[in-house]
Amino acid sequence: MTAPRTTAPPAPVLSVRELSVRFRMRGGHHVRAVSGASFDLAPGSCLALVGESGCGKSVLASALLGLLPGNAETSGAAHLTAADGAPAVELLTADEPLLARTVRGRRIGLVPQSPAAHLTPVRTIRAQLEETVRELGGGPAAPAAGAARGTSAARRPGRRAAREALRAAAERAADRAAFPLDHLDRYPHQLSGGLAQRAASALALVGDARLLLADEPTTGLDRDLVARTVDALRAHADDGRALLMITHDLAAAERIADHVAVMYAGRIVEHADAATFFGTPGPRHPYARGLLDALPGRAFAPIPGLPPELGALPDGCAFAARCPRADARCAVRPEPSDGVACHHPHPGPPPADAPEKSEEKGDRRARTA
């Protein structure tokens, strides 16, 4: 893949600073699900947020959408900017009516984890798309298709013209998601998994949001469907949207991401350029390295042990109990520096032919670039 990966466009679509989420539990103790997450997401780029289930990545997504349960407490900031210079929305403090009316589905398009659960089984895809268009107030005057020419006539329309505009807007959304128009009149159960996923993506694209949030979009899909699904997501990013993909699927992340953020025990422990992360010199954080080495195409070796409980995190580095590099310093929690939160990170990109690692065995990628 040779998607453009080097551009650093000006203003981020989403800017997250020191985002933390904790849940108040019975008995008064707290579970720190997300701690101090910071990142920017620029238009046209894709950030993959990766980590195992329970690492906090889904909670982070819910926080951005204002979908946390009542016992959650958030701190930090998450600014969602607008293309036209309209004021940014601070997602953590925005009230529910604002989120429901202008953010979810409109300024943030949601590509759901399980399209089957997201689509209404008793209605055709067309009916669901049209309803979403209607809910969002007629949909954008998208410049995409030639159909846009008719939209001014649809402004003070007869009923027929309104119908046609609605129909056109729904078809534009389907088209953007590469959903075949001749399948629009089918019901969800009549679609293959891949088409159901595209139908769900089409719903996400109705509002023509600048930020797309895809939560585990590839779970349970076969490899080629994974490829097609994430390539479609990538195409939306290439159209100038920002894409935040939350996934445990490293192959999917490798395929389309420009940047990778690895979460462990509620923290972003490494934030890296995707090309160096998946290629040479590879991940710098020992956990991230372990995660990649667990892939069946690599060493297929699990990281020993289990992640710590979010309600009982150690004072020091949360990975210490499983880390081959841990030493006394790791009893103090490492602050992120240069994109890595680790006292003993693996070497970063610049010295490409420096001795990659000394004390550890079995690194197959230790070769000069």
């Binding site: 980590g51 195992e52 289930s53 329970g54 293959s192 998994g193 779970t219 349970g220 899909l221 076969d222 490899r223 080629d224 469907l225 445990h248 490293l250 372990g290 995660l291 990649l292 667990a294 892939l295 069946p296 195409g297 297929f300 070796a301 699990p302 990281i303 042990g305 289990l306």
Partner: protein, 232 residues
């Protein structure tokens, strides 16, 4: 030997999702069955584990032809299979603590007395710590619950393991860990394995041989019965 012969199966009589498929797993062998989602491979896996009655065809387990499926299968035959599915939450009773979930098959077969010893042995093997064993499914992650489901599949020491997309929802490290548990069990007991999945890299790394669903189903239609391509 686990032999599936000319299996036709589905959920509606006229629309079989599996037609005329044969597949053989030798004792101690691991066979990966690779196919896209919705192709019928999960149905075939359920037939093999005696959980779904086929419309036609036979399943022979260690020389014994299965006389029936589900509760119609003799218990000794049924319990020679350990099965792990893709979604642990759908296959775990939400009321059970993980320790009880793991021991469930022992209790169901009247061997309650062995439960605590078996759990004490299996839990560390699948990487579950003592504090997790007292929790219920909603209090653990998917990965932890799947570890418990794998322990449950192993608790009766089955001769055959059927893993249907066991790791499809899991991260890379948990995937590698669960596969290692299965392989350690097989190394110790000589159990055979049918691993169904869609990830070619994973199945080829994991299994002795990998069979593509399209080859299996496609060739079956034109080969004479008894010459299953998988037997080659």
């Amino acid at each position: 030997m686990l032999e599936l012969r000319d299996i036709t199966a589905g959920y509606e009589r006229r629309r079989p999702v599996v037609s005329g498929v044969s597949l053989t797993v030798a004792p101690g062998e691991s066979v990966g069955l690779l196919g896209p989602s919705g192709c019928g491979k999960s149905t075939l896996a359920r037939v093999a584990a005696l959980l779904h009655r086929p419309d036609a065809g036979t399943v022979t387990v260690d020389g014994v032809a299965a006389p029936g499926w589900r509760h119609r299968a003799p218990r000794a035959l049924r319990t020679s299979f350990g099965v792990v599915f893709q979604q642990p939450r759908l296959s775990a009773d939400p009321r059970l603590r993980l320790a009880d979930l793991i021991a469930e098959p022992l209790r169901a077969t009247g061997r309650r007395a062995q439960a605590s010893a078996a759990v004490a042995e299996l839990a560390p093997a699948v990487g579950l710590t003592a504090d997790l064993l007292t929790r219920r499914p909603h209090e653990v992650s998917d990965g932890q619950l799947q570890r418990a489901c794998l322990a449950r599949a192993l608790v009766l020491e089955p001769r055959w393991l059927i893993c249907d997309e066991m790791t499809a929802m899991l991260d890379a490290s948990t995937t590698a860990a669960l596969v290692a548990v299965v392989e350690a069990y097989r190394a110790r007991t000589g159990a055979g394995l049918l691993a169904v999945g869609h990830d070619r890299t994973l199945l080829e790394r994991w299994c002795d041989r990998t069979v593509r669903w399209s080859d299996l189903a496609g060739t079956e239609r034109v080969t004479a019965p008894g010459e299953g391509p998988a037997a080659a």
